[in-house]
Symmetry: C2
Subunit: 199 residues, 2 copies
């Protein structure tokens, strides 16, 4: 009985933390997380002694899957196929786990392990993009922010399309990938100077 309570509290804390990290950043007061979760701060600190332990728990799995998809993509002989496959995989993860967008798009200043893992993921992604451009398959004016556009768009389609989420997401991703092919490149408005996910 006590064990069931503990497990339920843990789930509520993680859900509350995920929401508040995504909407207000990881500097949100621990007390606000406890309040949203409907638990006392003592309970919160018993489960998660430091803020970093909570941040890591919330986002580590998601980042690890993402890094895995990127590593596989880099191992592909065909850089454009690798790029496409990685994009499709990451977007499929978004269908299953809606917290994923936040994990990938939010900055976590101070959460060193996560930031290091994310920096790794970004390096791999940059290399994947470089190779796909060098192979002449990814348009030259593609920028990393374009991938964030897709992640935001896909997050919304997944959240808004109900039962049709998986089918809608697949079609959305296919459209994006086709518009990113070098052979299809027409003039584009410049990307925003800085594109950060603000919730």
């Amino acid at each position: 009985m006590l064990r069931a309570d503990a497990s339920r509290n843990r789930g509520r804390i993680l859900r509350a933390a995920r929401h508040l990290f995504a909407t207000r950043g990881i500097d949100v007061p621990m007390a606000a997380i406890a309040r949203r979760a409907g638990v006392g701060t003592a309970t919160l600190y018993r489960r998660f002694p430091t803020r970093e332990s909570l941040v890591t728990e919330v986002f580590a799995d998601q980042l690890a899957m993402c890094v895995g998809a990127l590593s596989e993509a880099l191992a592909d002989d065909d850089p454009w196929r690798g790029f496409r496959t990685a994009v499709e995989k990451v977007c499929a993860m978004q269908v299953v786990d809606r917290g994923f967008t936040a994990a990938f798009l939010t900055a976590f200043p101070g959460a060193f392990d996560l930031e290091r893992k994310r920096a790794e993921a970004e390096d791999e992604l940059a290399e994947l993009i470089r190779r796909a451009k060098a192979a002449g398959r990814l348009r030259a004016d593609f920028v990393l922010a374009d991938l964030m556009l897709l992640l935001m768009a896909n997050g919304a389609v997944v959240a808004g399309a109900g039962d049709a989420a998986a089918a809608a997401s697949r079609r959305l991703v296919a459209y994006f990938l086709q518009s990113w092919e070098a052979g299809h490149a027409g003039p584009l408005p410049p990307p925003p100077a800085e594109l950060r996910y603000v919730g």
Copy 2:
């Protein structure tokens, strides 16, 4: 003083109604709207004697702008330019008014004036799509649901990109339009059988 209160209440009611219509449909109880707005039901009914008067007020302006953009597009000699311009205009409206997505994507059974106006807009849109395809510029496998994908995506980018919203939206729309050009058509996953906006 009383007048300022009345105007503030009216704004709160419209905001609450817009949110609840979008997330729970227009059948949401009037009492729920009053509760969310923080006003008594007597106040709500004094401002809006019927549900339809409230629905119409919330969405009429937005639909009218949309219909206007479509009529202009149909008057263009070049159907593809007309189509592109209409899509760009509607998406630019989304940047300015975030309730717009809901107005366009939500069904309003029972709100006859609105439903008639929306049916008109959909007819105009279908004609615009038919002409752009006939001109060989819009890909043959394009469906109306693809436009809803863009509206959902654009709504999310506008909501999520903060100060970069306008620039991010322009780039997103350009990518979509390029992926919709007939010359760029590659195989696509089928569209979802039914794509409805569920909030």
